[in-house]
C-alpha cells in the first residue's frame, strides 16, 4: 500500500504578509524539478506594503518578546531539519544556531551601543538604537539557508521588517524557511520572502520610496553602482556587498545588526 502511494508535492510560493500567494504575474521558473513563483514588480510593492504595515507592531514589541520569537524560529527549524535534506550536512544546524545567536541580541544590543551622555548642562541625555524601518535584503546567492538566515535575522531582531529576495538559483530552502517562520509566532509581514530574478526585483526595491534600507549582499557585481544610485533617491541606508561571498559559518560580529539601526538621542530636563 505504502509503496504505491503517490507522493504529495509542495507548491513553492511567495511569502507576503504572513500568507503564501503565487506571483500575481502568474509566472514560475523551474528549479530542481519544482515550479517556483517568479515574483514581479507588483509582488515587490505588495511585500513592501506588508512590511510597512508590520513595522509599528514589531518594532514596538518588547525586546524580550522579539528574542523569544526568534528563539521560537530556531525551535521550529530544528523540527523541520528533514525538509532541508538537499543541503550540506551541518548547514541546518548552523542556521538553527544562528537564529539562537541573534535571538539573544534582542535585549542586549541597546545596552552595548546605547549610552548616557554627560552633557554640560542640566539634562539627562541618552542615546539608544532604533530600527531603521523596512529593510530590503538581497540574500546571498550561494548559501541558500545559512546565508539567508545570517542576513535576515540581524535585520529583524532589532525591530526592522524585511523584504528578502531569495537566492535566484537556490530558492527552495527560502520557501521552506518561510513555512518555518509562518509557524513561529513571527507576525505576518515581518519577513516577506520573494523568489524570482534578482536582477528584475533588486532595482524595484532599490528605487522604492517606502523602503528605508537595502542590503546588497546578493546583488550581481555589475549592478551595485546602479542599485546604490537608485537607493540615493530617498537616502536608503546601503549595506554594500562583500567582495566575495563570506564564510557564513564564522561568528558574524555586529556589522549587520548595526547597519539597520538609527541612534536616537533624547534630552530630558533635570529640575526640582
Amino acid at each position: 500500500m505504502a509503496e504505491s502511494r503517490l507522493h504529495v508535492r509542495k507548491t513553492y510560493k511567495l511569502f507576503v504578509g504572513g500568507a503564501f500567494p503565487r506571483s500575481e504575474s502568474g509566472r514560475t521558473y523551474l528549479v530542481a524539478g519544482a515550479n517556483v513563483a517568479q515574483a514581479s514588480r507588483k509582488d515587490v510593492r505588495d511585500a513592501v506594503v506588508a512590511a510597512r504595515k508590520a513595522f509599528p507592531g514589531w518594532s514596538g514589541a518588547t525586546a524580550y518578546n522579539r528574542g523569544q520569537v526568534l528563539y521560537r524560529v530556531a525551535e521550529m527549524l530544528e523540527g523541520r531539519r528533514a525538509e532541508f535534506d538537499a543541503l550540506a550536512a551541518g548547514e541546518v544546524d548552523a542556521a538553527v544556531d544562528r537564529w539562537i545567536w541573534y535571538a539573544g541580541w534582542a535585549d542586549k544590543v541597546a545596552q552595548v551601543v546605547g549610552s548616557t551622555n554627560p552633557v554640560a548642562g542640566p539634562y539627562f541625555d541618552f542615546s539608544f538604537p532604533e530600527p531603521t524601518g523596512v529593510v530590503a535584503v538581497l540574500a546571498p546567492q550561494e548559501s541558500s539557508l545559512l546565508g539567508l538566515v545570517s542576513v535576515v535575522a540581524p535585520a529583524i531582531v532589532t525591530g526592522n521588517t524585511v523584504v528578502v529576495v531569495a537566492s535566484e538559483e537556490r530558492p527552495l530552502p527560502a520557501v521552506t524557511l518561510a513555512e518555518v517562520l509562518a509557524t513561529s509566532d513571527v507576525p505576518g509581514g515581518v519577513v516577506n520572502v520573494l523568489t524570482g530574478r534578482t536582477a528584475e526585483l533588486a532595482p524595484v526595491l532599490a528605487a522604492h520610496m517606502d523602503v528605508n534600507a537595502i542590503d546588497l549582499t546578493g546583488s550581481a557585481p555589475g549592478s551595485v553602482a546602479d542599485l546604490e544610485r537608485a537607493a540615493a533617491d530617498n537616502l536608503k541606508r546601503v549595506l554594500r556587498p562583500p567582495y566575495a561571498e563570506p564564510d557564513w559559518t564564522a561568528e558574524p560580529g555586529l556589522e549587520r545588526l548595526l547597519a539597520f539601526l538609527e541612534t536616537k538621542t533624547v534630552w530630558h530636563p533635570i529640575g526640582s
Binding site: S115, D125, K264, V266, P269
Partner: protein
C-alpha cells in the same frame, strides 16, 4: 509707560585682522590657487566686501588630497596620545582666540555676536577638547581592539555654523588618525582660514588638515577625487543625495547630515512661557539657519490661542539688526541667494492660503534681512509645512490628541530633530519613543554638546556626529 530704548553696544571689530585676500591652506601653508578663481566674500549685514578668497579648481583639490595622502601614514602612525595632544593644543588655541573668531564669524556669517560668542566658539573648542581625549582610548570605544582610520576624509561643511561644523568634522577625524581636506561654504570661508593659522600655531604636521575654499564645483571635485576614502557632508538633502549617487559603486564611505523640518510639539500642560522661549530658540535662533530648527510648531488646540498670543508678544521684543551689537537677537540672512529662497517660500505660504504675521520690525537698508515670521492656518499639505525654509519662518499647526501629534510630527520625509513640551515625564518618554527623529529635545530645543550624538533618520541623512557614536564615521569596520 515710556519705552526704554537700548543703547548701541557693538563689539569691536578691531580684534580681528582681515586680510585683503586669502589663499588655500595646503600642506601646512597658504598657497595661491593653481586653477582656482578668486571670488569675494561679503558681510551679509552690510554687503561690504570683506576679503577675496579662492574657488579651488580640480588641480587645487588634487594637490590638497595628495598632501593629505602623503601625511596619512605618519599621522595615523603617531602614538595616539601625541595625536590627542595636538587636538588639546588646538582646543586651547581656539579658546584663546575665541573673541577674534567670534567677531569674524559674525562679520562673515551675519549671526548675532551673542550667539557666535556664547555658542559657536565655546562648543567648537569643547568639541576638540572632547575628541582629543578619545585619541588614545579608541580600543575601549567598542570598535574592536585596534580600530583603524579610513585614510583621507573629504569634508564639506555649511555656512550656518562655519567654525562649529569645522570642529564637528575635524575633531573626530583627526582623533581617529585620518587626514583631512575640508571645504567650507563659499559664503563663510574666513573663520576656517583663520583656523588654519591656529593649525600652524599648534605645529600640526603639514598635510594633516588642508582647507580648500570654493563653491559646489570645488565640493564636487573633492567628492569625486580618487584619493579620498571618506566623504562627510553637512548641508542640503538635495546635495546629500547627489553625493550618495556620485559615490555609488565605489568603496568610499559617506556620512550625511542633511535637512530637516522638525516638529516642536506643545501640549496643553506645558509651562507656556517656557515653551514660548523654546519655540523662539527653536526657529529664530541663528535666523532659522539651522538644519534641526523647530520650523513646525504643533500646538494642542486647547492652548493654541493663548500660546500664539504669548508668542507674538515675545516676537515683538526681538531685536533685529547689527550682528556685532551685543543686544541683537536676530542677525542678517547669510546671503542674497538664501534671502530669495526664504522670500519665495514665504510667498508660497501666502498663495496657498496660510496667514502670515510678523511683528513691526524695521529692516536695515543695506544687507540681507528677513523679519521673524509666523504662519497660522497652515495645513500639512502646504509647502511651508513640508519644505525646509532655512530661515526665520515658523509654520503653526494644531492637534487634539497625543496620537495625532505623533502622526503629524512624523509626516515628513525628514527626521532630524523634534521637540516636546509637557509637564508630564511619562508623556515626554512616550513621545520620544514615537517620534522618528535622531534628536528629541524635551522642554528645551537646539541644545548641543560634544558628548551627545547628533544626526538624522530617513532623508535627514545617516551617521552620527558627537559622542562615542561620532567615532564610527571615521573608523574602519
Amino acid at each position: 509707560m515710556s519705552r526704554w530704548e537700548y543703547s548701541p553696544a557693538p563689539e569691536s571689530r578691531a580684534v580681528v585682522d582681515i586680510r585683503p585676500s586669502y589663499g588655500l591652506f595646503v600642506d601646512g601653508e597658504f598657497t595661491d590657487g593653481q586653477d582656482g578663481e578668486p571670488f569675494k566674500t561679503v558681510n551679509p549685514a552690510t554687503e561690504e566686501v570683506l576679503a577675496e578668497v579662492v574657488a579651488a579648481g580640480p588641480l587645487d583639490v588634487d594637490r590638497a588630497v595628495n598632501a593629505a595622502r602623503t601625511a596619512f601614514p605618519r599621522w595615523s602612525g603617531l602614538p595616539a596620545s601625541e595625536r590627542g595632544k595636538y587636538l588639546y593644543r588646538i582646543a586651547r588655541l581656539v579658546q584663546e582666540r575665541s573673541r577674534e573668531l567670534a567677531v569674524l564669524e559674525s562679520l562673515d556669517n551675519g549671526k548675532p555676536i551673542r550667539e557666535s560668542r556664547d555658542l559657536d566658539l565655546p562648543l567648537a573648542a569643547a568639541h576638540f577638547f572632547y575628541y582629543a581625549g578619545w585619541a588614545d582610548k579608541l580600543s575601549y570605544a567598542g570598535f574592536g581592539p585596534d580600530p583603524r582610520p579610513l585614510g583621507v576624509a573629504g569634508q564639506i561643511i555649511p555656512w550656518n555654523f562655519p567654525l562649529l561644523m569645522l570642529a564637528w568634522k575635524l575633531a573626530p577625524a583627526l582623533a581617529t588618525g585620518n587626514t583631512c581636506v575640508l571645504k567650507p561654504a563659499e559664503t563663510t570661508s574666513l573663520t576656517a582660514l583663520h583656523f588654519a593659522e591656529i593649525l600652524q600655531q599648534a605645529e600640526l604636521p603639514p598635510g594633516v588638515v588642508n582647507i580648500v575654499t570654493g563653491a559646489g564645483a570645488t565640493g564636487r571635485a573633492l567628492v569625486t577625487n580618487d584619493g579620498v576614502d571618506k566623504i562627510a557632508f553637512t548641508g542640503s538633502t538635495e546635495v546629500g543625495k547627489e553625493i550618495a549617487r556620485s559615490v555609488a559603486g565605489t568603496r568610499k564611505k559617506i556620512t550625511l547630515e542633511l535637512g530637516g523640518k522638525a516638529a516642536n510639539v506643545v501640549f496643553d500642560d506645558a509651562p507656556l512661557d517656557q515653551a514660548v522661549e523654546g519655540i523662539v530658540n527653536g526657529i529664530f535662533f541663528n535666523q532659522g539657519h539651522v538644519c534641526c530648527a523647530g520650523s513646525r510648531l504643533l500646538v494642542q488646540e486647547s492652548v493654541a490661542d493663548e500660546l500664539l498670543g504669548k508668542l507674538k508678544f515675545r516676537l515683538a521684543t526681538l531685536r533685529l539688526g547689527d550682528p556685532l551689537d551685543k543686544n541683537t537677537d536676530i542677525g542678517a540672512i547669510n546671503s542674497s541667494v538664501q534671502l530669495a529662497k526664504i522670500r519665495e517660500l514665504s510667498d508660497v505660504g501666502d498663495a496657498e492660503g496660510a496667514t502670515r504675521w510678523s511683528p513691526a520690525c524695521e529692516l536695515p537698508e543695506r544687507g540681507y534681512w528677513f523679519p521673524p515670521t509666523l504662519f497660522t492656518g497652515v495645513s500639512q499639505a502646504h509647502r511651508i509645512a513640508r519644505e525646509e525654509i532655512f530661515g526665520p519662518v515658523l509654520s503653526v499647526l494644531t492637534f487634539r490628541t497625543p496620537a495625532e501629534a505623533v502622526e503629524k510630527a512624523n509626516n515628513t520625509p525628514y527626521g532630524l530633530s523634534a521637540g516636546v513640551w509637557t509637564d508630564k515625564g511619562s508623556r515626554i518618554l512616550w513621545m520620544a519613543d514615537r517620534l522618528r527623529a535622531g534628536v528629541v529635545w524635551a522642554n528645551t530645543f537646539n541644545r548641543f554638546d560634544p558628548t551627545s550624538p547628533f544626526g538624522g533618520y530617513q532623508e535627514s541623512g545617516y551617521g552620527r556626529e558627537g559622542g562615542r557614536h561620532g567615532l564610527a564615521a571615521y573608523l574602519d569596520g
